[in-house]
């Protein structure tokens, strides 16, 4: 019985993540109850920190798509796309006076176009994804910085966008449940649902898993491998475009380095995706794993911030992210040998 439970936890990534998630929440709540934390680790605190989950989870979903497409699929440029489309969105909404909906659509389309360039290099010209997206990372990042001479756009309409990042009460349950940041409902949940729907329910999702598992067999089965792989990068770009809108709203400003400052947004997103059970070799990965991995990291980070106040709190977050990733990867390798793979 314990052997079966162990096997379940080791081979089912979602099971492992749920166990870890419960462990984190229970530990933090206990610490909080005994006043070890600088502030209560309450439901409303947990809900408010979800704002950090929005860009992280969305970009991790983007990475889920490209990594699943196989042949070393990866997208280092998502952060740079966020910066670039964020600036263009800032122009459209903040300076040219576009209404919100067309401006968001513009961000989506521009992001998709950036992704299309990545996809063309990888799927049609045969570039290794790491190299192609490294190059476009540089190019997009550079354009984002140059396009407004390194200055952010924070005109009034952009600043007003901040209201979308505020928390709202859930419908139906009302105030009996903690307030959740609006971005969760306007961006993350729809994106996660669409990605889940595509992967789990559509023929496009099947084609993606097929080329990621074995692209030669996919071709022999009559699947258009190039087009499918290209589409994965386009979708990743489109999601990055949406993240740009979220980020602009969150900061009340279109910043030219919003997705590229420091370590950038791509590395954490890839880390989350891998932690969520996305196999770097392709063909394996699910939305549930990515979402759970995001929640794990976000709530773990939230707890760390309370347990280790101040600057070193964010340092321990790095430590947690790194150690969780390395252990998850070693665990993957182990289960690969012991049980023949992770689901």
């Amino acid at each position: 019985m314990t052997a079966r439970a162990l096997r379940l936890v080791l081979t089912q990534r979602t099971a492992l993540l749920v166990v870890l998630l419960v462990a984190v929440v229970v530990t933090m709540t206990t610490l909080s109850g005994n006043n070890y934390l600088s502030a209560p680790y309450s439901a409303s605190y947990m809900a408010s920190t979800l704002i950090n989950a929005v860009p992280l989870a969305m970009l991790a979903l983007a990475e889920l798509l490209v990594i699943t497409s196989g042949r070393g699929g990866i997208d280092l440029s998502v952060g740079a796309i966020v910066s670039l489309t964020g600036m263009v969105f800032g122009f459209a909404y903040g300076q040219w006076g576009w209404p919100l909906a067309p401006a968001i659509l513009l961000a989506l389309v521009l992001g998709a176009a950036c992704g299309a360039l990545n996809g063309f290099l990888v799927a049609h010209l045969g570039f290794p994804a790491l190299i192609a997206t490294l190059a476009t990372y540089y190019a997009f990042r550079s354009l984002a910085l140059v396009v407004n001479d390194q200055k952010p756009i924070n005109s009034q309409p952009v600043q007003d966008l901040y209201s979308t990042a505020t928390a709202v009460a859930l419908p139906l349950v009302g105030e009996s449940f903690p307030r959740v940041p609006l971005g969760i409902f306007t961006f993350l949940v729809p994106t996660a649902l669409v990605v889940w729907l595509v992967l789990a329910r559509t023929t496009a999702g099947r084609r993606l898993y097929a080329i990621g598992t074995n692209d030669v067999a996919a071709r022999w089965s009559g699947i258009d491998v190039r087009r499918t792989r290209w589409s994965a990068y386009v979708a990743a770009g489109a999601i990055s475009g949406l993240v740009a809108v979220v980020t602009v709203a969150q900061f009340a400003s279109a910043r030219p380095d919003s997705g590229t400052s420091g370590n950038g947004m791509a590395l954490p997103a890839i880390t989350i995706a891998i932690l969520g059970g996305v196999a770097i070799t392709g063909g394996v990965g699910r939305v549930a794993g990515v979402v759970l991995a995001t929640l794990l990291i976000v709530w773990l980070n939230a707890g760390i911030l309370l347990a280790v106040p101040g600057n070193s709190g964010s340092q321990y977050q790095l430590f947690a992210l790194g150690i969780v990733l390395v252990v998850a990867a070693l665990l993957n390798a182990l289960t690969q040998r012991r049980y023949g793979g992770t689901q």
Binding site: L121, L125, F127, A135, G262, N263, G322
Partner: protein, 339 residues
Amino acid sequence: MSAPALARPAPAKPGRVLPFPVTGQEVVLLVVIAVLWAALAVTTPAFATEGSIVPLLVAMTPIALIGIGMTVVIVTGGIDVSVGSIVMVCAVVIAKAMVGSGIPLPAAVALGMAVGALLGLVNGALIAYGRVQAIIITFGTLNLFRFAGLQVFGSATVEGIPGTLAPFGRGDAGRTLGVPHSFVVLLVVAAIAWYYLRHTPGGRHFFAIGGDADAARLAGISVRARIVLGYVVTGLLAGVAACFVIAQGTSSLAASVGSGLELSVIAAVVIGGTSITGGRGSVLGTLLGALLVQTVRTGVTQLGWPSQLSDLFVGVFIIVAVGADLLRQRRRPTGKRTT
């Protein structure tokens, strides 16, 4: 008994016994750099002066130095995205040691090399013995090393760093007869690496591992030990690079040091013609790649263009360099590609 007794004695064959030491791609890179330099010299008179060339050469040294290690790692089919964090850890440890106990230059360099090698050993051991993809492990250690570095930093920047490392800096102390010392160090390391990779069995084995690790194992090569060595060397060189970074900076060191450096290093290596899939690459190419990247950065600044524009050109150069290589691969009579 010597195997087949020969019907005909082999003709004494004078001349070359190795492929030409410079590949086509390297020649092209050299030409591109030459053209850029000539164009810059014409358009901005300030470029072709010592006050411009020397800082350019000094500025490229950290990236080129780490690039040498990264070349070895990528040749074996791996990658190390944690080098930026390794530089950060080494830099802060050295800086603290210099501020705290005023250690002399040799000790500072040795300390950097030791810390770097240790961190490289962590990467190498996890990758070779944990059997996990290099990119995943080094993404993890990127965060872990950065955490370690930040812990050493405390919460503040390191202030009041003495000028112990000035001999590796941009200033007058950093050069002899106009030649920057750090650049000389780079050339010496590159020469050693070049010789080792090209002329010793151990060096050649890196290429065999990247070409086909299983076949290499069958040929009696200790694959894991080689892989670990690659990461250790990369870490060690990152430690030396950290000294250069401190020397080029001011008397204070911020926690953002080294951040994003890994991508610049990888860019230099792939522009230099090293194949990201392993088995092929050269130290000379990496030096040229780093020189090209730095030339673009310097050139863009001197032309009065926004400095951030240089990254756009770096991106384009990566695409062109790798694209040219892909085209050449495709023209081969026998590709391993089976799609």
